[in-house]
């Protein structure tokens, strides 16, 4: 057993941890479909799925079985390689971005010193999923959806990055762990970076194409938008990809603005760190669902206007003020 050096064991443990984290993300993403339907049911004065298992908990299993056994149909008029690639990109890009999120002091996939930048890069990739799907489907509704998606992404990517630069300026690092630890010593960023929080939240909803920024799929207008031609497991990957996006953005909001794993009684019970992290993330996930339940969808040019005329100036002001304060403090 001489090859089993402590370094190797460490590597194996890290790999196992990474696999566990990503699996948990995927499973919780999939579970969200059930959670969302039950919550919507609650808020909409109806039951939601409650037939399969206790409280309908096995609905997810039923849905997955259904999806796996559906014909994996590719329309004959579609561009096959890109058509197949699109859902893979949709699901994987945001999943990979989760690697930089520190879950607890000891758990996390990768501890990159460019953590935030890595997230921006991956978030930028997600638009390709929509673009590929819309273009390769060879369907006009899909095309309109992906056109909307690209226009929307261009608008919201701009201040998605800028909204977090205030944090980076204050902490002096792109590393997520540094950011969390900084919040331990100082205030949670929700207070000094409130404008950053507001705009990042909006941009985060836009990145996941969640209501009210679900312009690319806008059911009432474009039927289903970019994934109108998808069925079976390919469609399922878009679906799970969307929920992974929710989990990711919620986790980031927790990490960046709400002190990550921090919470009371951590000194006595260190395992609480995961609990606090999950609790805060769960709260934001609920918020995403509540948004969907409560508000109408603006028109797509109004979404653009809101981005350029309101959110972008707001982030710039935030950045300038933060920069000035950081300089003054030095």
């Amino acid at each position: 057993m001489s090859w089993l050096t402590p370094e190797l064991i460490d590597v194996i443990v890290q790999v196992l941890k990474a696999i566990v984290i990503l699996l948990v993300v995927v499973v919780s993403g999939a579970l969200l479909s059930f959670v969302e339907r039950r919550l919507l049911g609650l808020w909409q004065d109806r039951y939601g799925p409650n037939r399969v298992g206790p409280f309908g908990m096995f609905q997810l299993g039923a849905d997955m079985l259904k999806m796996f056994f559906k014909e994996d149909w590719t329309p004959p008029f579609a561009d096959k390689p890109i058509f197949t690639l699109a859902p893979v990109v949709a699901m994987s890009s945001l999943l990979i971005a989760f690697a930089v999120v520190p879950v607890t002091p000891t758990w996390g996939v990768a501890d990159l010193n460019i953590g935030l930048l890595f997230f921006f890069a991956m978030a930028g990739l997600t638009v390709y999923a929509v673009l590929f799907a819309g273009w390769s489907s060879n369907n006009k509704f899909a095309l309109l959806g992906s056109l909307r998606a690209s226009a929307q992404t261009v608008s919201y990517e701009v201040f998605l990055g800028l909204s977090l630069m205030g944090i980076v300026a204050q902490v002096g690092s792109f590393n997520m762990r540094d950011i969390v630890e900084y919040q331990q010593e100082h205030l949670w960023f929700i207070i000094p970076q409130f404008l950053g929080f507001a705009t990042f939240f909006i941009a985060g909803v836009a990145v996941t194409h969640r209501h009210p920024f679900d312009q690319p799929e806008a059911e009432q207008e474009l039927a289903d938008g970019y994934h109108i031609e998808y069925a079976g497991m390919k469609w399922g990957m878009f679906f799970v990809g969307e929920y992974i996006g929710i989990v990711l953005i919620s986790a980031l909001l927790t990490t960046l603005f709400f002190g990550g794993w921090h919470g009371p009684f951590l000194d006595a019970l260190p395992w609480l760190s995961f609990f606090w992290f999950a609790l805060k993330t769960g709260f934001f996930i609920m918020l995403f669902i509540l948004l969907r339940a409560s508000i109408p969808r603006p028109r797509y040019d109004q979404v653009m206007a809101f981005s350029w005329k309101f959110c972008l100036p707001l982030t710039l002001i935030n950045l300038l003020v933060t920069g000035a304060l950081v300089l003054a403090a030095q």
Partner: protein, 593 residues
Amino acid sequence: MTADSALYIPPYKADDQDIVVELNARFGAQTFTLQPTRTGMPVLWVPRERLIEVLAFLRQVSKPYVMLYDLHGVDERLRTHRQGLPAADFSVFYHLMSLERNSDVMIKVALSERDLNLPTATSVWPNANWYEREVWDMFGINFEGHPHLIRMLMPPTWEGHPLRKDYPARATEFDPFSLTAAKQDLEQEALRFKPEDWGMKRGSEHEDYMFLNLGPNHPSAHGAFRIILQLDGEEIIDCVPEIGYHHRGAEKMGERQSWHSYIPYTDRVDYLGGVMNNLPYVLAVEKLAGIKVPDRVDFIRVMMAEFFRIQNHLLYLGTYIQDVGAMTPVFFTFTDRQRAYKVIEAITGFRMHPAWYRIGGVAHDLPRGWDKLVREFLDWMPKRLAEYEKAALKNSILRGRTIGVASYNTKEALEWGVTGAGLRATGLDFDLRKARPYSGYQHFEFEVPLAVNGDAYDRCMVKMGEMRESLRIIEQCLKHMPEGPYKADHPLTTPPPKERTLEHIETLITHFLQVSWGPVMPANESFQMIEATKGINSYYLTSDGSTMSYRTRIRTPSFPHLQQIPSVIRGSMVADLIAYLGSIDFVMADVDR
């Protein structure tokens, strides 16, 4: 005519002879043949050569006939009771409406089978377009000069003209249907949209347009409705609405059902209107029969009609908000609908299509305890409406999506034959329940909700107001429900009061005949319009003295509302079209009949 120069609507004048005098003065009395009817308006036959002149005159005359309310045809070939009328194999009628006179006039033209040609009226009223297409479709009458005379309701490959008397009404009279591969290809090809046919271009100098086929299956098309969009990016350059997917031949069925057994068919014309649909039909039949119903019948009918107005508006409200992207309110409005159905079900025994009105009355008396149920609903509803207004309609995103979207003014509305909330949202105070009271509406106190901008938001707000007023009317029915019989004491009341059939042999025989063969209505023509859920709905009945109608013309409000779409939506975005469709309040059954 905008909101600031609002029209004064005088009291309704039935059989207004002023216009006959004016017409005689202008064209000479020999031009016209006056037909006595029970339609409540002068009916004048005009020779074909003078038709456009006369129509143009009526459009221009002081206090003009601003609205082409209806235009359709009649196959006169089998009609036996037509003494004093010009010889005709077919006739086409133009029903015109003047708001400043608050009266109507009907112009008819006689046509011979060998020469089925008429000049088009599209230059006088733009909404003649679809009506003339439908007349061509149903009777094969050609309109010279029509911009695009193709079939309206039937598919382009259809053979024959269904409303002709020699066209069979029963499926068993046809050969069995078969679909060969070749025929299928032909039908498929006929569905292909060719922009050139519609005078559209596939592109301009620098750009190609996209033609987007929205429907007949689309989540926001509110039924089987197809609309083809010519898009530049997301901007709608032009569009072509296509209807007919929901056509069931309701008018043809009127010609083979007894006067009594046709009532359930009317329920399904505007399938959200329930018994509201029975109302114009039974009122028109009662005019033919000369029945005057007891007060209690009027009150019961009004109460149930207003219940269905609320039902319709609740569904409208939910789907309208859903069309602009908020998914929750529709579930709440359906909860309210359930509450109302509880009352409706207790009273009529059915939910959506009770077919509960009868010629000369209603099917049953109100059940014991009805007042308690109605009271419960009246207590429940107002706070819910307040909540919808606060939570959904005052939402800034919803307002941003709908204010200023798809707006038109009163003049445009009248030109296109728009009635109902779509007309009142432009500021015109024209509600038939006030302007031309029927079925005892003059006894009730209520307001007519109005708006000014005529946009998608205003249309919804008017409907919100209407729900509150309907609640007021129902409350008055509850408080002042008169005692008395629920059926008129008249030989043509169908079916006759059951209690008496067991005592009088005469009533027993009448009962038997009316239920088996159906009542015989005196030969005449009658007409009744009502303020239905979606606008003005009317039945124009022609009786030839038989157990069945000779011609049943159903004028529905949604038909002109859809015809108006292109003129309103050009230059807007796709998302605006969806908000507009949501705000119109139409169901395809009401459009296609």
